[in-house]
């Protein structure tokens, strides 16, 4: 290696040092403990049965996990029902939004000519579709449809915007070497748009969770974390409702972490900007 490149080598994709990683974990544990402590104190100060302390949530969790709920469904059945719906709806969203976003990005006239049809749908919240979805669909289809609506637009819009980021020079590199349209799509357009697609997917996943819970609260089904929460809310059993809330938060968090992990693997080529 030449001497002039020492500085370049220093910029290589070294992960954050291990010591710093442990410190971050420690900080997160500490803030979690503090948050739980404040919760415990607040609960004791209020002293109401409707404001349970953290330990009561743990009890409720153990009860739900080992013995199931009042209707005989286990906690895992409820969780899996929600996860399955999100995955199917979200998957459909990706499958439709990415190709459509690429197509409309590559042929701006197509988008310009159909905007009046597409864009207004973006402003109808998925929740506003629930009444229609209840009439038209049942079971998994209903939820997949609603979540699809929630996930589609963030992914579609960011894909569309991403296509505009393709550098003309990169396209030209392909063309002068004799590449066809398909090569340019696969090797230039998609790698350029990929970060935007992933960002759209993370936003879309958030919307998907938002939608599933609302849809499940609306009723008509017997499983799902939203359903379980409504059941317990009617019984005024607050700790069990909170178990459902925390699980939704946790599952959403984990799914987002998976996406982040994929991003980190996929985009090792990107430079990190820090202030």
């Amino acid at each position: 290696m030449a001497a002039t490149t020492k500085e370049d080598a220093g910029r290589s994709n070294m992960p954050v040092a291990v010591g710093a990683g442990i410190r971050i974990v420690a900080w997160n544990i500490l803030s979690l403990v503090i948050a739980l402590g404040i919760w415990q104190l607040a609960s004791r100060a209020v002293g109401s049965p409707f404001f349970p302390a953290p330990m009561q949530i743990v009890d409720a969790f153990i009860q739900l996990a080992t013995r199931g709920d009042t209707t005989g469904h286990s906690l895992w059945e409820h969780s899996w029902a929600s996860i399955e719906r999100v995955l199917v709806g979200f998957g459909l969203g990706v499958v439709f939004a990415v190709p459509l976003g690429l197509l409309m990005g590559l042929y701006p006239k197509l988008y310009a000519g159909t905007r009046a049809v597409i864009e207004p749908f973006r402003f109808i919240p998925p929740i506003a579709w629930i009444p229609l979805a209840i009439i038209f669909f049942s079971g998994l289809t209903r939820f997949a449809f609603l979540i699809f609506l929630g996930a589609f637009f963030p992914i579609f819009t960011s894909t569309l915007v991403g296509v505009a980021r393709v550098e003309p020079i990169h396209r030209k590199v392909g063309i002068v070497h004799g590449a066809g349209k398909l090569w340019i799509l696969r090797k230039v357009v998609i790698p350029t748009v990929m970060p935007d697609i992933m960002a759209g997917m993370r936003v879309g996943l958030g919307t998907a969770w938002l939608t599933i819970v609302a849809a499940e609260l609306a009723g008509g089904i017997s499983t799902g974390l939203g359903r379980m929460m409504t059941n317990y809310a009617e019984l005024l059993m607050v700790p069990h409702v909170i178990v459902g809330m925390l699980l939704i938060g946790l599952i959403g968090f984990l799914m987002n972490e998976v996406l982040l992990l994929i991003e980190r693997r996929l985009f090792r080529w990107r430079w990190q900007v820090s202030l």
Partner: protein
């Protein structure tokens, strides 16, 4: 190596209009196979447009650009291009970037690997194969682009002011390297620059264009032996002649 004796004789006889603007007014010249040509001209004289026509990605509004007797076409002719601006793909490593042209041409994997390793060695990027462009300097990125162009062993290599963004020592180093690669591989090179010293240093023949609408002002064969000494009497004489022509061209 399946490469036949490379040919790539280029014949240009073209005019080009961009809307109401006449860019090229009856440019007519030929480039022999394996010749190293430098094209110079005042800025804005349509040098990049000319290269696009030579690459077959722009069709002249009248006349023709022929490579070995047929209309220039990047899908049929073996052409490579080094651009003025940074053109490496940020999502590919150095060696993947260098392999791009070969992969487009559908070269078999083992051939790609050996050719890429060879050219990376020649341009002095050994040890940086797995780096991403953002991890290396601007000069190194341009070397990646040059390696990519030469890796395909294209018959015709077009270079659009490839060293403009480099500092003087790197530029001189790269000029020597390009001459070296060219002597090894014997390709037809058409090199556009506005730096006359660079042109006289590199070329078998210098073509000087006028300002828009571009015409050929002068063609000057240079028979000095390589490596050329920019401080020698012959070199400075040729250079000052070129400077006079270029001034006349304005």
């Amino acid at each position: 190596m399946h490469a036949p004796i490379s040919l790539a004789k280029v014949d240009v006889d073209a005019s080009h209009r961009y809307g109401p603007l006449l860019v090229h007014d009856g440019l007519k010249f030929s480039v022999a196979a394996n010749e190293f040509i430098c094209i110079c001209g005042p800025s804005g004289c349509g040098k990049t447009t000319l290269l696009d026509m030579l690459a077959g990605i722009l069709v002249p509004s009248s006349g023709h650009v022929l490579i070995d007797g047929t209309q220039a076409n990047p899908k049929e002719h073996s052409i490579s291009f080094v651009f003025q601006e940074p053109s490496t793909f940020p999502w590919l490593t150095v060696s993947e970037n260098v392999a791009t042209g070969l992969n487009i041409k559908g070269a078999p994997a083992d051939q790609v690997r050996s050719k890429v390793a060879n050219i990376i060695d020649i341009v002095g990027l050994k040890g940086f194969e797995d780096y991403y462009p953002h991890q290396i300097s601007g000069g190194m990125k341009q070397r990646v682009a040059i390696a990519r162009a030469f890796a395909t062993e294209a018959d015709l290599i077009l270079m659009d002011e490839p060293f403009v963004s480099l500092d003087q020592p790197t530029r001189e180093h790269m000029q020597r390297e390009v001459l070296d690669i060219w002597r090894h591989m014997k390709r037809t090179v058409i090199f556009v620059t506005h730096n006359l010293e660079e042109a006289v240093y590199l070329a078998d023949r210098v073509i000087i264009l006028s300002a828009k609408p571009a015409r050929i002002v002068a063609e000057l064969p240079i028979s000095l032996q390589h490596p050329r000494d920019p401080l020698s009497v012959e070199f400075t004489e040729i250079r000052s002649k070129c400077v006079q022509w270029l001034h006349a061209a304005h």
